[in-house]
Amino acid sequence: MVEHVLRVREVGVDYRTPAGAVTAVSDVSLDVPARGLTVLAGPSGSGKSTLLRVLSLVERPTRGAVELRGRGTARLSSRARRELRRRDVALVFQHPADNLIGHLDVGDNLRAAAQAAGRVAPVDEVLERLGLPGTAWWKVSAMSGGQQQRLAFGCALARQAGVVLADEPTSQLDTASADLVLETLADLARGGVPVVVASHDPRLIALADTRFDLRNGALVA
């Protein structure tokens, strides 16, 4: 049994800009537990979203190593990284609409998410768990932002991903909607799925089982 779903060693991310190289993440090392809710906390520009993209295998770090369930990803080809993402990773974006396919209904969004991972979605069961029963045939645009974001986590659930990562999942929502999303997150974490969230929402940070604080791209003690 792997204790840590993700292990990060000396990871740094630099970007080239017209003004020269900018370091977004600076030599971060951390271990993400295989259970519970892990929060990457920090103010805007602290590098938490960049680090989350690296953790979700969406972006290659400039240097350092990332292990997913004990498997090193640094030397993996793009194809192999895609394969890992397909089977093991679910990423939830900040904007609710970015996580769903607008021209598919709610049920098909769940089915599409599961299909991508080679699985079959128990649509009604997932919707029930999300508190959205009977909405399978709804158009995505008919849902509120909070419902859409919960559905996004539902998609992650339907994928049965090994780890769920989310970037500021409550930042675009009103308080009531954000509360519902927080419930969903807590529910996911309780269900045994490791969840990694980048956020500066104090309520979300308060739910964290594990917390890493970032400032200017570096971890702070």
């Binding site: 969406v58 895609r82 609409a97 021209h103 599409a112």
Partner: protein, 820 residues
């Protein structure tokens, strides 16, 4: 297939604009390719059509002629012919030679003939019963012959009709028999006569032995005129096989379609190779359009694509997602393009008759093009998503490399090479008499390469200028300053529209100029060659024109000795009948040197010695070499080689008028339209006519691209317009600003396109001369109407685009403006 891919075709409906643009792009793309296939095939049909207009319809099928057949052998020969070609009834004409015949009145020569159906195609003046002799008016008047009279002491059938002599130009049924039915009076004087027609083959066989001498026999096989090269080739092959067993009995085989079929095939090859370069360029532009549509699709679907990518889909799968969404519109557009090309065929092609299989070939070409479009959409989608997600931070190296490559230098080098071909080979030489010159496609590509170079250069200069435009400070004229900033912000689309716009205007202008120059050159060269619209040789004694020809005709004498030629003209009437030329009528009252003949005294047979002081550069018939003598300097008109009536009237009216006035005519007649083999001119005209049509398609592409570019940045226009309005920019200034912005692009396209085409066609037109031995050389036609049309069209497009832009500002909703 996973759900997002399976649902992709339905997802296309969520963006009607992308759907429409995809359909239109594929439509134009496949139209260009299908039209190129159909146009070149149709040019073969047009070439056949043009050539058979100059041939005798009844002799298009290979035919036979025998001369000097003993009269008693004719019935057996006719029977044998009919039996050996049972599948197609031959039309057999039998003509005796001229004989002195006693019709009872003044002695006359006459020739007897029989051709089934002849009496159905004559103009009856008296009588009309078909059971007796049909006598031409010329003989009836000479011998004072009347209906019912029987010649040769009653041994000939009675005269039952008097008909009007057959005159040039002959209708189709008579055309092949011209040699036998139109007497060449001037050649053989009074001996030559028109034909006295017998009512039947039996009556022809039963003619009294003293007039039944040697007989000329013609065997024709009337056939429907072929409409296409394949039909003509089939008629020729079939006819050749049919007459082969009969040939040994005949001393002439006439196979008029031999050369036309070769010429038509050469025309197809010429046109196809000549339109190929621009078709390929248009194809590339069209495929670039497909790539642009796909890029826009990828931008619009970025959220979904990113989601699928995060979930593990690779660039190829995402490229496939694009094909599934854009594929159906592209296929539908391709089919619509094929249909449009077929429907508009009469509009852009020289003939609407296509050889069998052409539409299939065009459809195959469209299938290939649509497949290419799908490949481009797939590759663009895959590359775009690869760049958007997989290598997002690395920068667009490929685009930078492509933009940095000096494409215009490459096309300029090609243009220089093509110019070299124009200079050294041009249209090349004809392989045999009457055949077409082999047109050098590389030479014909020269003007297009110049236009393409100008377009690429204009696009590069525009890109540089827009990159440097941030230095421009025109805030005292905010409309202009904002226009420049908007242009700079949309540098990519702007240079793209400019490139296609220059290409469109340039190709339209080049196409119109060169095709127009060839049309005019054929007209003028033909006129200069014949001297008039129509001419008829007349006896030297005719000095007065019939009433019907006064004011539109003139009498001209022509003398030729070796390469030296002179005209004897009537200064008063020369301008009435001669092909319009720029000669001052007063000059014609004195002897003239024409063109490059040397000074000094000249002596020509039948003319007094002349030593002209006056000079003109050219004159109809003489071209740029010869002399002119006023008719009042001539002593005896009979000493002059030959005399003609030159007329601006059609040939039929001239022969009719002269015949009615009792003037004896010869077979030496002609018309301007049929004097010069016009196919080489027409080939170039058709080729560049199609170039102009492709230019029109490109103009549509440029216009749509401009309108779309404005519509696509609707929100930016609305935002910037709203801000500018808050800052005090009035509605009129805003409209002015958009007019300046869009007008600058359109004006640059028009100016550069017209300038490039003026230069390239200006130097090319005189070189593209299929008949350099005939004067004058082709000239660029008046381009003012084209200029006006282009400017008006551009202004309309700019007005519509500006209206769309201003409407975007006025109709923008608050929610739209504050959306993140």
């Amino acid at each position: 297939m996973q759900i997002p891919w399976r649902a992709a075709p339905r997802a296309a409906l969520s963006s009607p604009l992308t759907l429409l643009v995809s359909v239109v792009t594929a439509l134009l793309l496949s139209f260009v390719v299908a039209a190129a296939v159909m146009h070149s095939a149709a040019s073969g049909s047009a070439a056949i059509d043009y050539q058979q207009d100059r041939l005798c319809t009844e002799a298009l099928h290979p035919s036979l002629e025998a001369t000097g057949v003993p009269h008693e052998h004719v019935p057996g020969m006719v029977r044998a012919i009919e039996e050996s070609v049972p599948d197609r009834a031959p039309l057999i004409g039998t003509y005796l030679r001229e004989q002195r015949v006693d019709f009872g009145g003044r002695p006359t020569d006459a020739k007897f003939g029989y051709r089934p159906g002849a009496t159905d195609r004559l103009k009856v003046l008296e009588g009309g019963s078909k059971d007796g002799l049909w006598v031409p008016r010329s003989i009836a008047e000479t011998t004072d012959l009347r209906l019912g009279e029987r010649g040769m002491g009653g041994r000939l059938p009675p005269v039952t009709a008097i008909y009007a002599d057959i005159l040039d130009p002959l209708p189709g049924w008579w055309c092949s028999e011209r040699h036998f039915v139109v007497p060449n009076v001037l050649d053989r004087d009074e001996l030559a006569t028109a034909v006295v027609w017998l009512p039947s083959a039996e009556s022809f066989a039963a003619l009294p032995p003293e007039i039944a001498g040697l007989t000329d026999v013609t065997v024709r096989f009337p056939a429907d005129p072929p409409g296409t090269v394949d039909e003509a080739a089939a008629l020729l092959a079939e006819g050749t096989a049919r007459i082969a067993p009969l040939q040994q009995h005949f001393n002439r085989t006439i196979s008029l379609l031999d050369l036309p079929v070769d010429n038509a095939r050469q025309t197809v090859t010429n046109v196809r190779s000549a339109v190929l370069p621009l078709t390929l360029i248009s194809l590339l532009i069209g495929l670039a359009g497909v790539a642009t549509v796909t890029v826009q699709w990828a931008q619009r679907r970025e959220r979904e694509l990113r989601l699928l990518w995060v979930r593990g889909a690779g660039p190829f799968a995402l490229g496939g997602r694009g094909v599934l969404e854009l594929g159906l519109p592209l296929v539908l557009g391709g089919a619509a393009g094929l249909g449009t090309a077929r429907l508009l065929l009469p509009w852009y092609a020289p003939s609407d008759r296509l050889p069998p299989g052409t539409v299939t070939t065009a459809a195959l070409a469209v299938v290939v093009v649509v497949a290419l479009s799908l490949v481009v959409a797939f590759a663009t989608g895959a590359l775009r998503t690869h760049r958007m997600f997989q290598v997002a931070q690395r920068g667009n190296r490929l685009r930078k490399v492509l933009a940095a490559l000096p494409w215009e230098l490459a096309t300029a080098a090609l243009a220089v090479w093509a110019w070299n071909r124009v200079q050294h080979s041009g249209l090349a030489t004809t392989p045999r008499i009457g055949a077409l010159p082999r047109i050098d496609a590389a030479a014909l590509a020269f003007p297009l390469l110049v236009v393409l170079t100008a377009a690429l250069l204009a696009a590069r200069v525009a890109r540089w200028a827009l990159a440097a435009s941030h230095r421009v400070r025109l805030w005292s004229k905010p409309a202009a300053q904002l226009a420049i900033r908007r242009l700079a912000a949309g540098a990519g689309p702007v240079t793209g529209v400019l490139l296609v716009g220059v290409l469109a205007v340039g190709t339209i202008a080049v196409g119109a100029a060169i095709s127009g120059s060839q049309r005019t050159a054929l007209e003028v060269k033909s006129g200069m060659y014949t001297g008039a619209n129509s001419y008829v040789q007349i006896p030297a004694g005719v000095t007065e024109l019939p009433e019907a020809l006064r004011g539109n005709s003139t009498i001209v004498g022509f003398v030729k000795q070796y390469e030296r030629a002179a005209l004897v003209v009537d200064p008063r009437t020369f301008g009435d009948g001669a092909f319009p030329s720029e000669v001052d009528p007063a000059l014609l009252a004195q002897p003239l040197r024409v063109g490059d003949v040397p000074r000094g005294e000249v002596r020509l047979p039948g003319l007094p010695p002349i030593e002209p002081d006056a000079w003109v550069p050219s004159l109809p018939k003489l071209g740029r070499s010869g002399w002119v003598v006023p008719v009042d300097r001539i002593g005896d008109r009979r000493d002059v080689g030959s005399w003609y009536v030159w007329s601006s009237k059609p040939l039929g009216e001239v022969t009719e008028a002269l015949s009615a006035a009792g003037v004896k005519l010869s077979r030496n007649v002609g018309e301007k339209e049929k004097a010069v083999q016009g196919l080489p001119f027409l080939t170039i005209q058709w080729t560049f006519g199609f170039v102009a049509a492709l230019g029109a398609v490109l103009a549509v592409v440029a216009s749509i691209a401009l309108l779309l570019a404005v519509e696509v940045r609707r929100r930016q226009n609305a935002l910037s317009g709203a801000f500018s309005t808050r800052m005090g920019l009035g509605p009129a200034a805003m409209l002015r600003s958009h007019l300046v912005e869009l007008g600058a692009v359109a004006a640059a396209a028009v100016v550069v396109g017209l300038a490039a085409s003026a230069v390239s066609s200006g130097v090319t037109v005189p070189k593209l001369d299929p008949a350099p031995r005939l004067t004058p050389a082709p000239e660029v036609p008046d381009v003012l109407p084209l200029l006006v049309t282009t400017v008006v069209g551009s202004v309309l497009v700019v007005l519509v685009a500006a209206w769309i832009a201003v409407r975007a500002v006025r109709s923008a909703r608050i929610g739209e403006l504050i959306r993140g």
